[in-house]
Assembly symmetry: C4
């Protein structure tokens, strides 16, 4: 949808609003998504991402994912200052969500941890994360073109839902470095989690960059995305 990825509104107040939108957007996305039951995880996370992108698209562009922001940095859709601020806000929002889970869930369990499962090796899991994050960021580019694509945030959300319906048992289906880092920082997430976390984040960022590289010849470089509304 339009609004996505845009980097306009560089006035101080608008910039601060955009950073806030990325912080609270990821906070509420993770608050809802990471606390969902295993059975509801894929749909709850996909729908939560869709609605938080609807809520933030006109304010910050609705990145809500460092893999999106890194790609937008690489293709010139956000400035370095804005990009790094977004990423810091996204990670901060995810950490805040995990801290809220400690306070708001009856058993303060570690929810939202990333890691391989269902018999998959760590190598298999990170290739899944890389490929599926690439699909997610490709969809972001595809629906960010032009004005008034009101289906765009829904398309982004159902990309996560579809990916998680298949990959949840094998990888945890984060597709988002902030969603991987937040629980790892707050909960620890168990033995081996530092290496797992770093490899996940690396794979997710590479997936985002691959999507940016594939989208660049299609949609050109720099800010040209339309506004929404």
């Amino acid at each position: 949808m339009a609004g996505l990825l845009r980097s306009e509104g560089r006035s101080g107040a608008k910039f601060a609003a955009a950073i806030s939108a990325e912080f609270f957007g990821v906070l509420f996305f993770a608050l809802i998504g990471a606390a969902a039951s295993y059975k509801n995880f894929a749909i709850a996370n996909g729908l939560a991402l869709a609605v938080l992108v609807y809520a933030t698209a006109n304010v910050s562009g609705g990145h809500l994912n460092p893999a999106v922001t890194v790609a937008a940095l690489a293709t010139g859709h956000v400035s370095v200052l804005r990009g790094l601020s977004y990423i810091a806000a996204q990670i901060g929002g995810a950490i805040a969500a995990s801290a809220l889970h400690l306070a708001l869930l009856p058993k303060a369990a570690a929810v939202g941890c990333s890691g391989p499962g269902g018999g998959a090796t760590l190598g298999q899991a990170i290739v899944w994360e890389l490929l599926l994050t690439a699909v997610l960021v490709t969809v972001v580019y595809a629906v960010a073109i032009g004005d008034k694509n009101f289906a765009g945030p829904a398309a982004i959300g159902i990309t996560l839902a579809a990916a998680a319906l298949t990959a949840l048992p094998y990888t945890g289906a984060a597709l988002n470095p902030a969603r991987t880092l937040g629980p790892a920082i707050v909960f620890g997430c168990g033995a081996g989690s530092v290496r797992t976390t770093l490899l996940y984040v690396l794979a997710q960022l590479l997936g985002g960059l691959a999507a940016g590289a594939a989208s660049w010849p299609l949609y050109g470089i720099g800010p040209h995305f339309g506004k929404w509304g």
Copy 2:
């Protein structure tokens, strides 16, 4: 979507139609939503809210929730007379839905009661209700801008679906004072329900007001939302 929150059409007939739309909109939303099985509750309520907002957006603005109307009052999108009339109609619609459940369900059980569960304390439950209602009302503001956002009612509905997929076991996932009050008034809802009901309603209204306060600097004050169709 456009139409949402608008306060035009102050002629007597249009005003009466808007009040009717809020009454019947909440009535049918609660009739479908509160009678859904536990397994279907989140999706049935989210879809029911979406379709009733589609049905009423061009008539009343499709509030269907006192937390939305209180926020719209605070940000100047509805007059005091209209706002209070909407809230009365919404609560009346929810009471009527619960009365219909008594007549139309094979076992006239208390359906749709709000309250903490799954090990969550009352304090945890009302913080969840406050935060998730704030997300819901934020999405209403975000999609109400501009004309012809036909995805808006769907975005509002999937916000409720996503929130309920996660929070249903802990809070009942009303996110709506009318939905909390209707069953409490008709069914009683058991020991402690008066205090629970009042705290839920307070938390939901505060969540709505917080969303209005956050949206006010972004979208400005007063009636400026577009028409749909």
Copy 3:
């Protein structure tokens, strides 16, 4: 969505195409919907209705339901000739779908029969059918206004999905006289089914007419709906 309910294109070829669209639209809607498992019934029927309305909206207006056509007749959106032809085509399509079920399902069981269940009385079931059909037809009117509401068919489909998620155990959730009549005519549907079928059809038609009566003061009378595309 635009296209819905429109009565333009009265040339012979366009009229024949519209009748065909109603016949095949209901045929495929019922072919997919009535054969769904109990667990998948609500979502499969909602999605199938949405996609068949997408497929037929620009050809016939996408009624696919005698309750919609009766309402459109009452509010002057289709001529008597077109309306009666649509209803005949809809019932014929539903009969053809049931006949195909005999041929294409491994056990030629009676699928898609309407009737009360889950402890609900026949009286309770037909009130549910009346009320929920009224909601469905109200949504059709609400989304048929104006041009290019591409979310319209989806809104219609999710209305059926939401209603069926709640009402399936109590009524079978047809909300459509053609869907009730087709299986009753082909399979018989057991003792008492003639009375049940007639009462269901009556309740569904009354629900449609109630929705038309409620929508008439809001949207006016006669053909004014926009084209799609």
Copy 4:
């Protein structure tokens, strides 16, 4: 949605981008869809198809299915060179997805094989595949008309979801020759699979051609579909 089926952009670079889009589009559609669990299969495949059509619509027209391309060839919406190149890319993408499943799934099981089940005969299964593929391709034609139908890819995806919710136990619900051929070529898919595969592909192509024949008098022949964005 607009963009669908269009055959513009015949420059070398745009043509190569379109072929790539069909290859990677089917690859990621099948990577997500074929590896979904039986319980999640219908929704995961429907959502995955929707998002890959969103991702590729502006590049290749988002066919992602030889049954769509064969119909577009028959109705003059793509040239012979482009059509045959698309089909080769689609089949190549499906083969690549099955090869990736060998590498990325913990048990390198044969996922995504087509074939009758649940008591259905081969004859019953291929009639289901023919009819449901016809519905799918009809929806593609219906939503490809006009500009800016941003709900189009979602409508195409939910067509597959609805069809698979009902037909998965009886046919495997491929509705796509590439999705049938990829696993059959990589995994073999067991005794009798050569005959089953050929009959499935034939039925799917016939279904697509039937949809093209039905849509041709409605929407005319040749390239006239709008661009998206």
